[in-house]
């Protein structure tokens, strides 16, 4: 018998005795109306379901909120209902923010893909590490293919996002975000076609042309996102200047320091860093989009970059994307 099989039997043996703890409270049956009965016309409340009553456990409020959350978090329609009904605790609110349309795993795969590309590029000149380099390249190729498959339904999400952004009140934001989402949807559709061609479903597809089209749509989407970021930065800076927080004379300047040659320019230069400090989400989004920009620019031959630099930029933008998932306050809201 191998080690694994011994572990298997020991594991189950231990779990068997752990669960037969006779100090637990006994179960009892209770008849109660089924929670989801109103969803289906055939299950009216007059027809109660028979469910086992679990004896109440002594858990704290946040723990109960988290348990309720975990039971429905992987259900797409239940997620919206959960978001409306979540109350109170910061942990439950944070977890609710995580229930977004974009897959969190996709970002992790993207980060791993670019990290593998970066490692392969860094080790490319080491003759003794050829096997390791080939492993990194294989991992990168597999992750890239897996991500393409995983993105198969995302064009619809992007279309829905475009419909939502078309209802924004600010005209500049409405234009930028709608254009960005529409271009992202078109990019994802081209990406899906490329996946189908790679999987052998569309063998006659011209991969070069569709790849160039995908890169163009991706580039346009990033440019519109960057335009939105620039607009928000400008608006933020102007608002701070109008509020009078930045005056020509700087109170924090030391009395010994020389006076500013162009006080207005000096004030503007200081205005931007202060605005960034108060809105980190905006800065992160701008950095993320700027990093991502290098990839389509290289693929279209507009601005060639070193493969290592491309991998680094991709990794940085993926890490920023993961950070916005883990800390929802760092995510820029439209």
């Amino acid at each position: 018998m191998s080690v694994i099989e011994v572990a298997f039997f020991f594991f189950n043996f231990l779990a068997f005795f752990k669960t037969l703890d006779t100090n637990r409270r006994a179960f009892f049956l209770k008849s109660e109306p089924r929670r989801g009965a109103t969803r289906s016309p055939s299950f009216a409340l007059s027809r109660p379901s028979l469910q086992l009553e679990r004896a109440p456990r002594a858990t704290s409020g946040p723990r109960r909120a988290m348990e309720a959350l975990q039971n429905v978090i992987n259900q797409s329609q239940g997620r919206d209902r959960l978001l409306r009904s979540v109350r109170g605790k910061t942990k439950a609110r944070k977890a609710a923010f995580l229930a977004q349309r974009r897959s969190s795993f996709a970002r992790l795969f993207r980060a791993t893909q670019f990290a593998s590309a970066l490692c392969a590029h860094a080790l490319r000149n080491h003759s003794r590490r050829k096997e390791l380099v080939s492993k990194f390249k294989s991992l990168e190729a597999n992750l890239s293919g897996g991500r393409k498959l995983f993105r198969l339904g995302n064009a619809i999400d992007a279309g829905e996002a475009a419909k939502r952004s078309a209802r924004l009140s600010d005209p500049v934001l409405r234009l930028c975000l709608t254009a960005a989402n529409v271009n992202r949807a078109l990019y994802l559709m081209c990406d899906n076609a490329l996946w189908a061609a790679g999987a052998g479903l569309l063998p006659s597809l011209d991969r070069g042309r569709w790849g160039a089209g995908a890169s163009r749509f991706y580039l346009l989407s990033l440019l519109m996102s960057l335009t939105r970021d620039a607009y928000l930065i400008l608006r933020l800076a102007l608002r701070r200047a109008r509020d009078g927080r930045e005056t020509i004379s700087h109170p924090e300047r030391s009395p010994e320091a020389a006076p500013a040659v162009i006080p207005h320019l000096d004030a503007s230069v200081l205005l931007l860093p202060r605005s960034f400090k108060s809105h980190p989400a905006l800065v992160l989004d701008a950095v993320k989009n700027a990093c991502d920009l290098s990839i389509p620019l290289d693929r279209l031959g507009i601005y060639r970059s070193d493969p290592g630099a491309l991998a680094f930029c991709g990794l940085l933008s993926s890490l920023i994307g993961i950070a916005t998932l883990v800390r929802p306050e760092l995510r820029l809201k439209a």
Binding site: F11, A15, S103, A106
Partner: protein
């Protein structure tokens, strides 16, 4: 650990869709083989199936942790049989996912000298055991609900000469066929009133044929395995689209 579980749960719905597509490819491949389709088409379908299988392995990379967390939650249940079935079932699922991760690393070339066949057999053994425990749980809940329904029916109907309070629920009366018909109608009533239990029972039954075939315990053929896999994936998707259909805990 809670944040990892939340992080991981986002991809479950897509993994189920890809699973349905993979088993649809298996079924399609069998149909094309039986229908005498061209080799190129069959090769395309099998390549697509292999690609989806590898992607699913990639998506399942974090599922061991989620299964262990589920086992930690299940250990606090008050009902001892449910506690046993669910905890041990989740632990076996965790071991199945761990073996699956090793298989993925072996296919990727990250781990050298991984005996694919041996690790595949191990993973299916854990999967089979987890399914048997899930089915045991379903049968147990069904039994409790049938007992309750039978007691409710006995309380509503007037007491007859033949039935007495001391009669055990499983005691076979003089007319076995009438008794059997009664039990079957009771079973149908209970399953009709509890669609989550019915769905879970069907799903686990369909899934059971997959490891039974792969471990050569009960070979059923590629087509049947594909059909069962597709059916169980569609039922799982139904529980995601309609959350009230998911059997809790």
């Amino acid at each position: 650990m809670d944040s990892w579980v939340r992080f991981n749960s986002q991809s479950q719905a897509k993994e189920k869709i890809i699973r349905a597509a993979q088993y649809a490819c298996t079924l399609l491949g069998y149909t094309l083989h039986k229908g005498g389709a061209g080799a190129q088409l069959r090769r395309t379908v099998s390549q697509l199936e292999a690609h989806m299988s590898l992607t699913r392995k990639l998506l399942r990379l974090g599922n061991s942790v989620e299964a262990i967390e589920s086992a930690k939650r299940a250990i606090h249940l008050s009902d001892s049989i449910l506690r046993l079935c669910l905890t041990v079932g989740h632990l076996n699922r965790a071991m199945y996912f761990a073996c699956d991760n090793v298989l993925w690393a072996g296919k990727m070339g990250l781990l050298c000298k991984v005996d694919q066949r041996k690790w595949s057999q191990r993973s299916f053994k854990y999967y089979l055991f987890a399914l048997i425990l899930n089915l045991t749980r379903d049968v147990y809940e069904l039994h409790l609900l049938m007992e309750r329904e039978a007691r409710r029916g006995a309380a509503k109907s007037p007491p007859s000469r033949d039935s007495s309070p001391c009669t055990a629920a499983w005691a076979v009366p003089p007319d076995p066929s009438a008794w059997l018909r009664g039990r079957l109608s009771l079973l149908a009533t209970v399953l009709h009133n509890n669609p989550p239990l019915l769905l879970d029972l069907l799903k686990n039954t369909c899934d059971l044929f997959i490891p039974l075939d792969r471990l050569a315990i009960y070979p059923t053929g590629t087509g049947f395995v594909g059909a069962c896999g597709l059916a169980s994936s569609l039922l799982a998707l139904l529980t995601i689209v309609h959350p009230w259909l998911k059997l809790k805990p």
